[in-house]
Protein backbone atom coordinates (compact mmCIF):
# COMPACT_ATOMS: atom_id res chain seq x y z
CA UNK A 1 0.00 0.00 0.00
CA UNK A 2 2.82 2.40 0.88
CA UNK A 3 4.76 1.70 -2.32
CA UNK A 4 2.13 3.04 -4.75
CA UNK A 5 1.65 6.05 -2.47
CA UNK A 6 5.39 6.69 -2.42
CA UNK A 7 5.53 6.41 -6.21
CA UNK A 8 2.58 8.80 -6.56
CA UNK A 9 4.22 11.25 -4.14
CA UNK A 10 7.50 11.05 -6.07
CA UNK A 11 5.68 11.68 -9.38
CA UNK A 12 3.93 14.69 -7.89
CA UNK A 13 7.20 16.02 -6.46
CA UNK A 14 8.96 15.60 -9.84
CA UNK A 15 6.13 17.60 -11.41
CA UNK A 16 6.44 20.38 -8.84
CA UNK A 17 10.24 20.39 -9.27
CA UNK A 18 9.70 20.84 -13.00
CA UNK A 19 7.34 23.76 -12.58
CA UNK A 20 9.42 25.72 -10.07
CA UNK A 21 12.63 25.60 -12.09
CA UNK A 22 13.49 28.78 -14.01
CA UNK A 23 13.26 27.05 -17.39
CA UNK A 24 9.44 27.00 -17.84
CA UNK A 25 9.06 30.40 -16.14
CA UNK A 26 7.86 32.22 -19.29
CA UNK A 27 5.07 29.73 -19.98
CA UNK A 28 4.13 29.57 -16.26
CA UNK A 29 3.76 33.35 -16.05
CA UNK A 30 1.66 33.32 -19.24
CA UNK A 31 -0.48 30.49 -17.83
CA UNK A 32 -1.05 32.29 -14.49
CA UNK A 33 -2.11 35.47 -16.24
CA UNK A 34 -4.45 33.58 -18.61
CA UNK A 35 -5.99 31.34 -15.95
CA UNK A 36 -6.31 34.17 -13.42
CA UNK A 37 -7.64 36.86 -15.71
CA UNK A 38 -11.31 36.37 -14.70
CA UNK A 39 -10.54 37.90 -11.34
CA UNK A 40 -14.18 38.62 -10.57
CA UNK A 41 -15.19 34.94 -10.55
CA UNK A 42 -12.82 32.97 -8.29
CA UNK A 43 -14.59 29.65 -8.95
CA UNK A 44 -14.01 30.08 -12.71
CA UNK A 45 -10.34 30.82 -12.04
CA UNK A 46 -10.01 27.66 -9.96
CA UNK A 47 -11.83 25.61 -12.63
CA UNK A 48 -9.57 27.07 -15.32
CA UNK A 49 -6.54 26.16 -13.17
CA UNK A 50 -7.83 22.59 -12.83
CA UNK A 51 -8.48 22.42 -16.61
CA UNK A 52 -4.96 23.75 -17.28
CA UNK A 53 -3.45 21.04 -15.01
CA UNK A 54 -5.58 18.31 -16.64
CA UNK A 55 -4.48 19.52 -20.08
CA UNK A 56 -0.88 19.13 -18.98
CA UNK A 57 -1.63 15.69 -17.48
CA UNK A 58 -3.20 14.50 -20.76
CA UNK A 59 -0.11 15.54 -22.72
CA UNK A 60 2.28 13.69 -20.41
CA UNK A 61 0.13 10.54 -20.51
CA UNK A 62 0.18 10.61 -24.34
CA UNK A 63 3.95 11.26 -24.53
CA UNK A 64 4.57 8.48 -21.98
CA UNK A 65 2.35 6.12 -23.99
CA UNK A 66 4.27 6.91 -27.19
CA UNK A 67 7.63 6.22 -25.53
CA UNK A 68 6.69 3.29 -23.27
CA UNK A 69 5.02 1.37 -26.11
CA UNK A 70 8.14 2.10 -28.24
CA UNK A 71 6.02 3.89 -30.79
CA UNK A 72 8.65 6.63 -30.82
CA UNK A 73 12.22 6.67 -29.56
CA UNK A 74 12.93 8.70 -26.43
CA UNK A 75 15.75 10.90 -27.85
CA UNK A 76 13.69 11.65 -30.97
CA UNK A 77 10.58 12.66 -29.03
CA UNK A 78 12.51 14.59 -26.41
CA UNK A 79 14.70 16.64 -28.75
CA UNK A 80 11.82 17.30 -31.14
CA UNK A 81 9.60 18.61 -28.34
CA UNK A 82 12.43 20.68 -26.81
CA UNK A 83 13.54 22.28 -30.06
CA UNK A 84 10.60 22.51 -32.42
CA UNK A 85 7.72 23.10 -30.00
CA UNK A 86 9.42 26.09 -28.36
CA UNK A 87 10.20 27.53 -31.81
CA UNK A 88 6.51 27.26 -32.71
CA UNK A 89 5.25 28.42 -29.32
CA UNK A 90 7.14 31.77 -29.33
CA UNK A 91 5.54 33.27 -32.46
CA UNK A 92 2.19 31.69 -31.51
CA UNK A 93 2.18 33.47 -28.13
CA UNK A 94 3.18 36.79 -29.72
CA UNK A 95 0.33 36.57 -32.23
CA UNK A 96 -2.20 35.41 -29.58
CA UNK A 97 -1.11 38.24 -27.26
CA UNK A 98 -1.39 40.88 -29.99
CA UNK A 99 -4.85 39.58 -30.88
CA UNK A 100 -5.91 39.75 -27.20
CA UNK A 101 -4.63 43.30 -26.97
CA UNK A 102 -6.61 44.13 -30.09
CA UNK A 103 -3.46 45.33 -31.86
CA UNK A 104 -3.56 42.61 -34.47
CA UNK A 105 -6.58 41.60 -36.51
CA UNK A 106 -6.59 38.38 -38.45
CA UNK A 107 -8.99 39.23 -41.30
CA UNK A 108 -9.64 35.62 -42.32
CA UNK A 109 -11.07 34.91 -38.86
CA UNK A 110 -13.37 37.93 -38.82
CA UNK A 111 -17.03 37.25 -39.43
CA UNK A 112 -16.86 33.51 -38.88
CA UNK A 113 -19.18 32.36 -36.12
CA UNK A 114 -20.05 34.82 -33.39
CA UNK A 115 -17.50 37.52 -32.68
CA UNK A 116 -13.92 37.94 -33.80
CA UNK A 117 -10.95 35.82 -32.89
CA UNK A 118 -9.92 38.16 -30.06
CA UNK A 119 -13.30 37.72 -28.36
CA UNK A 120 -13.12 33.97 -28.86
CA UNK A 121 -9.53 33.78 -27.58
CA UNK A 122 -10.22 35.96 -24.58
CA UNK A 123 -13.50 34.24 -23.79
CA UNK A 124 -12.29 30.68 -24.39
CA UNK A 125 -12.44 30.13 -20.62
CA UNK A 126 -12.06 26.61 -19.31
CA UNK A 127 -11.54 24.73 -22.64
CA UNK A 128 -9.00 27.42 -23.55
CA UNK A 129 -7.13 26.81 -20.30
CA UNK A 130 -7.07 23.04 -20.98
CA UNK A 131 -5.76 23.71 -24.50
CA UNK A 132 -3.11 26.00 -23.10
CA UNK A 133 -2.06 23.22 -20.70
CA UNK A 134 -1.69 20.78 -23.61
CA UNK A 135 0.39 23.21 -25.69
CA UNK A 136 2.62 24.37 -22.82
CA UNK A 137 3.28 20.81 -21.67
CA UNK A 138 4.27 19.85 -25.23
CA UNK A 139 6.96 22.53 -25.29
CA UNK A 140 9.48 20.64 -23.18
CA UNK A 141 12.49 22.43 -21.77
CA UNK A 142 15.72 20.72 -20.62
CA UNK A 143 14.48 20.47 -17.01
CA UNK A 144 11.14 18.91 -17.88
CA UNK A 145 12.87 16.54 -20.32
CA UNK A 146 15.41 15.55 -17.65
CA UNK A 147 12.83 14.98 -14.94
CA UNK A 148 10.15 13.41 -17.18
CA UNK A 149 12.31 11.06 -19.27
CA UNK A 150 15.05 10.48 -16.68
CA UNK A 151 13.03 10.47 -13.45
CA UNK A 152 9.34 9.92 -14.10
CA UNK A 153 9.38 7.31 -16.89
CA UNK A 154 11.78 4.91 -15.12
CA UNK A 155 9.63 5.30 -11.98
CA UNK A 156 6.42 4.67 -13.96
CA UNK A 157 7.73 1.59 -15.77
CA UNK A 158 9.40 0.25 -12.60
CA UNK A 159 6.24 0.51 -10.54
CA UNK A 160 3.97 -0.80 -13.31
CA UNK A 161 1.95 2.40 -13.35
CA UNK A 162 2.79 3.64 -16.80
CA UNK A 163 -0.07 6.09 -17.28
CA UNK A 164 -1.30 7.07 -13.81
CA UNK A 165 2.09 8.39 -12.69
CA UNK A 166 2.60 10.56 -15.82
CA UNK A 167 -0.89 11.99 -15.15
CA UNK A 168 0.05 12.76 -11.52
CA UNK A 169 3.31 14.31 -12.75
CA UNK A 170 1.28 16.50 -15.14
CA UNK A 171 -0.97 17.69 -12.31
CA UNK A 172 2.17 18.45 -10.29
CA UNK A 173 3.58 20.61 -13.09
CA UNK A 174 0.34 22.62 -13.10
CA UNK A 175 -0.07 22.85 -9.32
CA UNK A 176 1.92 26.06 -8.66
CA UNK A 177 0.06 27.77 -11.53
CA UNK A 178 -3.27 26.70 -10.04
CA UNK A 179 -2.30 27.89 -6.55
CA UNK A 180 -0.95 31.24 -7.79
CA UNK A 181 -4.00 31.85 -9.95
CA UNK A 182 -6.36 31.11 -7.04
CA UNK A 183 -4.41 33.43 -4.72
CA UNK A 184 -4.41 36.12 -7.40
CA UNK A 185 -8.14 35.76 -8.04
CA UNK A 186 -9.03 35.82 -4.35
CA UNK A 187 -6.70 38.71 -3.58
CA UNK A 188 -7.51 40.94 -6.54
CA UNK A 189 -11.18 39.89 -6.44
CA UNK A 190 -11.36 41.01 -2.80
CA UNK A 191 -9.77 44.37 -3.55
CA UNK A 192 -12.04 44.76 -6.57
CA UNK A 193 -15.18 44.12 -4.52
CA UNK A 194 -13.99 46.54 -1.84
CA UNK A 195 -13.63 49.35 -4.33
CA UNK A 196 -16.56 48.22 -6.48
CA UNK A 197 -14.32 48.20 -9.51
CA UNK A 198 -14.42 44.61 -10.73
CA UNK A 199 -15.21 45.44 -14.36
CA UNK A 200 -12.20 47.73 -14.55
CA UNK A 201 -9.98 45.08 -12.92
CA UNK A 202 -11.09 42.49 -15.47
CA UNK A 203 -10.38 44.83 -18.38
CA UNK A 204 -6.90 45.49 -16.98
CA UNK A 205 -6.35 41.75 -16.37
CA UNK A 206 -7.25 41.01 -20.00
CA UNK A 207 -4.73 43.60 -21.21
CA UNK A 208 -2.09 42.23 -18.82
CA UNK A 209 -2.70 38.71 -20.18
CA UNK A 210 -2.19 39.91 -23.76
CA UNK A 211 0.96 41.79 -22.74
CA UNK A 212 2.37 38.81 -20.84
CA UNK A 213 1.71 36.53 -23.82
CA UNK A 214 3.60 38.91 -26.11
CA UNK A 215 6.56 39.20 -23.69
CA UNK A 216 6.70 35.44 -23.07
CA UNK A 217 6.52 34.86 -26.83
CA UNK A 218 9.32 37.36 -27.52
CA UNK A 219 11.45 35.65 -24.84
CA UNK A 220 10.91 32.23 -26.49
CA UNK A 221 11.62 33.66 -29.96
CA UNK A 222 14.87 35.25 -28.76
CA UNK A 223 16.07 32.11 -26.93
CA UNK A 224 14.83 29.36 -29.25
CA UNK A 225 14.82 30.95 -32.72
CA UNK A 226 17.43 33.73 -32.59
CA UNK A 227 19.59 31.65 -30.24
CA UNK A 228 20.35 34.31 -27.61
CA UNK A 229 21.37 33.19 -24.12
CA UNK A 230 19.20 35.16 -21.73
Amino acid sequence: MTEPLLAAGSALWLGILTSISPCPLASNVAAVSYVGRRVGAPHRVVLAGVAYSLGRALTYVLVAAAVVTSLLSMPTVSFFLQQRMNQVLGPLLVVAGLVMLGWLRLPWFQGRGTGGLEQRLAGAGIPGAAGLGVVFALSFCPVSAGLFFGGLLPLATGSGSRFVLPAIYGVGTGLPVLLLAALLALGVGGIGRTFNALARFERVAMRVTGGVFVLAGIYLVLTHIVGLSI
Partner: protein
Protein backbone atom coordinates in the same frame (compact mmCIF):
# COMPACT_ATOMS: atom_id res chain seq x y z
CA UNK B 1 -16.27 43.45 -49.53
CA UNK B 2 -18.37 44.52 -46.51
CA UNK B 3 -16.91 44.92 -43.03
CA UNK B 4 -18.48 42.30 -40.71
CA UNK B 5 -18.79 44.75 -37.82
CA UNK B 6 -19.93 47.96 -39.51
CA UNK B 7 -21.53 46.66 -42.70
CA UNK B 8 -19.64 49.32 -44.66
CA UNK B 9 -17.91 48.51 -47.91
CA UNK B 10 -14.13 48.07 -47.51
CA UNK B 11 -11.78 49.12 -50.28
CA UNK B 12 -8.43 47.51 -51.18
CA UNK B 13 -6.61 50.22 -49.18
CA UNK B 14 -8.55 49.44 -45.99
CA UNK B 15 -8.06 45.71 -46.47
CA UNK B 16 -4.30 46.26 -46.86
CA UNK B 17 -4.28 48.42 -43.73
CA UNK B 18 -6.04 45.64 -41.80
CA UNK B 19 -3.46 43.14 -43.02
CA UNK B 20 -0.48 45.39 -42.27
CA UNK B 21 0.15 44.30 -38.62
CA UNK B 22 -0.08 40.64 -39.66
CA UNK B 23 2.40 41.18 -42.48
CA UNK B 24 4.66 43.02 -40.04
CA UNK B 25 4.66 40.06 -37.63
CA UNK B 26 5.45 37.66 -40.48
CA UNK B 27 8.26 39.95 -41.72
CA UNK B 28 9.80 40.19 -38.24
CA UNK B 29 9.60 36.40 -37.91
CA UNK B 30 11.32 35.85 -41.24
CA UNK B 31 13.94 38.46 -40.30
CA UNK B 32 14.70 36.65 -37.04
CA UNK B 33 15.02 33.32 -38.82
CA UNK B 34 17.40 34.92 -41.33
CA UNK B 35 19.45 36.44 -38.48
CA UNK B 36 19.75 33.01 -36.89
CA UNK B 37 20.89 31.33 -40.11
CA UNK B 38 23.43 34.13 -40.65
CA UNK B 39 24.77 33.70 -37.12
CA UNK B 40 25.17 29.97 -37.71
CA UNK B 41 26.80 30.52 -41.10
CA UNK B 42 29.43 32.89 -39.70
CA UNK B 43 30.40 30.16 -37.22
CA UNK B 44 30.27 31.69 -33.79
CA UNK B 45 30.78 28.34 -32.05
CA UNK B 46 33.52 28.33 -29.43
CA UNK B 47 36.46 25.98 -29.23
CA UNK B 48 34.67 24.02 -26.50
CA UNK B 49 31.80 23.36 -28.92
CA UNK B 50 34.01 22.02 -31.70
CA UNK B 51 33.60 18.35 -32.62
CA UNK B 52 35.33 16.13 -30.11
CA UNK B 53 38.23 14.24 -31.61
CA UNK B 54 38.81 10.87 -29.98
CA UNK B 55 42.58 10.83 -29.57
CA UNK B 56 44.25 7.57 -28.59
CA UNK B 57 44.27 7.15 -24.82
CA UNK B 58 47.43 7.76 -22.92
CA UNK B 59 46.22 5.15 -20.43
CA UNK B 60 44.62 1.83 -21.39
CA UNK B 61 41.82 2.56 -18.95
CA UNK B 62 40.39 5.95 -18.23
CA UNK B 63 37.10 7.53 -17.29
CA UNK B 64 35.71 10.41 -19.30
CA UNK B 65 33.10 12.67 -17.69
CA UNK B 66 31.11 14.18 -20.54
CA UNK B 67 28.76 17.11 -20.11
CA UNK B 68 26.53 17.11 -23.20
CA UNK B 69 24.61 20.26 -24.08
CA UNK B 70 22.91 21.91 -27.06
CA UNK B 71 23.32 25.43 -28.47
CA UNK B 72 20.36 26.65 -26.36
CA UNK B 73 21.58 26.73 -22.74
CA UNK B 74 19.16 27.36 -19.91
CA UNK B 75 19.98 28.52 -16.36
CA UNK B 76 19.52 25.03 -14.90
CA UNK B 77 21.73 23.54 -17.63
CA UNK B 78 24.54 25.98 -16.80
CA UNK B 79 24.16 25.20 -13.10
CA UNK B 80 24.42 21.44 -13.77
CA UNK B 81 27.58 21.97 -15.81
CA UNK B 82 29.14 24.22 -13.12
CA UNK B 83 28.25 21.89 -10.22
CA UNK B 84 29.47 18.80 -12.11
CA UNK B 85 32.74 20.45 -12.98
CA UNK B 86 33.19 21.62 -9.39
CA UNK B 87 32.40 18.15 -8.05
CA UNK B 88 35.01 16.55 -10.28
CA UNK B 89 37.74 19.18 -10.03
CA UNK B 90 37.63 19.44 -6.25
CA UNK B 91 37.60 15.69 -5.52
CA UNK B 92 39.71 14.27 -8.33
CA UNK B 93 42.50 16.77 -9.02
CA UNK B 94 45.19 14.04 -9.06
CA UNK B 95 43.22 11.78 -11.40
CA UNK B 96 42.56 14.70 -13.76
CA UNK B 97 46.27 15.56 -13.76
CA UNK B 98 47.53 12.06 -14.55
CA UNK B 99 44.83 11.35 -17.17
CA UNK B 100 42.86 8.67 -15.32
CA UNK B 101 39.92 11.04 -15.46
CA UNK B 102 39.08 13.48 -18.25
CA UNK B 103 36.43 16.25 -18.27
CA UNK B 104 34.81 17.18 -21.59
CA UNK B 105 31.96 19.44 -22.61
CA UNK B 106 30.33 18.66 -25.94
CA UNK B 107 27.66 20.50 -27.95
CA UNK B 108 25.68 17.71 -29.59
CA UNK B 109 24.28 20.11 -32.20
CA UNK B 110 27.71 20.86 -33.70
CA UNK B 111 28.43 18.91 -36.86
CA UNK B 112 30.34 15.77 -36.06
CA UNK B 113 28.96 15.45 -32.53
CA UNK B 114 25.46 14.20 -33.39
CA UNK B 115 26.46 10.55 -32.93
CA UNK B 116 26.75 11.08 -29.15
CA UNK B 117 22.94 11.33 -28.96
CA UNK B 118 22.62 7.78 -30.28
CA UNK B 119 25.75 6.45 -28.57
CA UNK B 120 24.50 7.38 -25.09
CA UNK B 121 20.74 7.52 -25.71
CA UNK B 122 20.65 11.22 -24.75
CA UNK B 123 17.33 13.01 -24.36
CA UNK B 124 18.43 16.30 -22.79
CA UNK B 125 21.54 17.98 -21.39
CA UNK B 126 23.35 15.17 -19.60
CA UNK B 127 26.33 14.24 -17.47
CA UNK B 128 27.63 10.87 -18.67
CA UNK B 129 30.52 8.84 -17.25
CA UNK B 130 32.26 6.68 -19.83
CA UNK B 131 34.74 3.96 -19.04
CA UNK B 132 37.16 3.93 -21.94
CA UNK B 133 39.29 0.86 -22.58
CA UNK B 134 42.04 1.19 -25.21
CA UNK B 135 40.38 4.22 -26.75
CA UNK B 136 36.91 2.68 -26.99
CA UNK B 137 33.93 3.23 -24.71
CA UNK B 138 33.33 -0.02 -22.84
CA UNK B 139 30.69 1.05 -20.34
CA UNK B 140 28.75 4.23 -19.63
CA UNK B 141 26.29 5.68 -17.19
CA UNK B 142 24.03 8.70 -17.55
CA UNK B 143 23.87 10.42 -14.16
CA UNK B 144 20.16 11.15 -14.50
CA UNK B 145 19.61 12.20 -10.89
CA UNK B 146 21.47 15.48 -11.46
CA UNK B 147 18.11 17.04 -12.45
CA UNK B 148 16.47 15.94 -9.22
CA UNK B 149 19.34 17.07 -7.00
CA UNK B 150 19.86 20.45 -8.63
CA UNK B 151 18.09 22.24 -5.76
CA UNK B 152 20.51 20.74 -3.20
CA UNK B 153 24.11 21.48 -4.14
CA UNK B 154 25.66 19.40 -1.32
CA UNK B 155 23.74 16.26 -2.35
CA UNK B 156 24.45 17.01 -6.03
CA UNK B 157 28.24 17.20 -5.47
CA UNK B 158 28.22 14.03 -3.34
CA UNK B 159 26.18 12.12 -5.96
CA UNK B 160 28.55 13.06 -8.82
CA UNK B 161 31.65 12.34 -6.70
CA UNK B 162 30.33 8.95 -5.48
CA UNK B 163 29.44 7.83 -9.00
CA UNK B 164 32.77 9.01 -10.41
CA UNK B 165 34.69 7.34 -7.57
CA UNK B 166 32.84 4.06 -8.21
CA UNK B 167 33.71 4.21 -11.90
CA UNK B 168 37.36 5.06 -11.24
CA UNK B 169 37.85 2.37 -8.62
CA UNK B 170 36.17 -0.30 -10.70
CA UNK B 171 38.33 0.27 -13.75
CA UNK B 172 41.66 1.77 -12.74
Amino acid sequence: MRDAGTGRRRGPGRRFAALLPTLLVIAVGLGLLHARSLAQATGKETVADAPTIMTPSVRPHRVIAYYFHTTYRCASCRAIEAYSREAIETAFADQLKDGRLVWRTVNTEVKGNEHFVKDYNLYTKSLVLVNEVRGKPAQWKNLERVWQLLQDKTKFLRYVQDETRAYLSARS
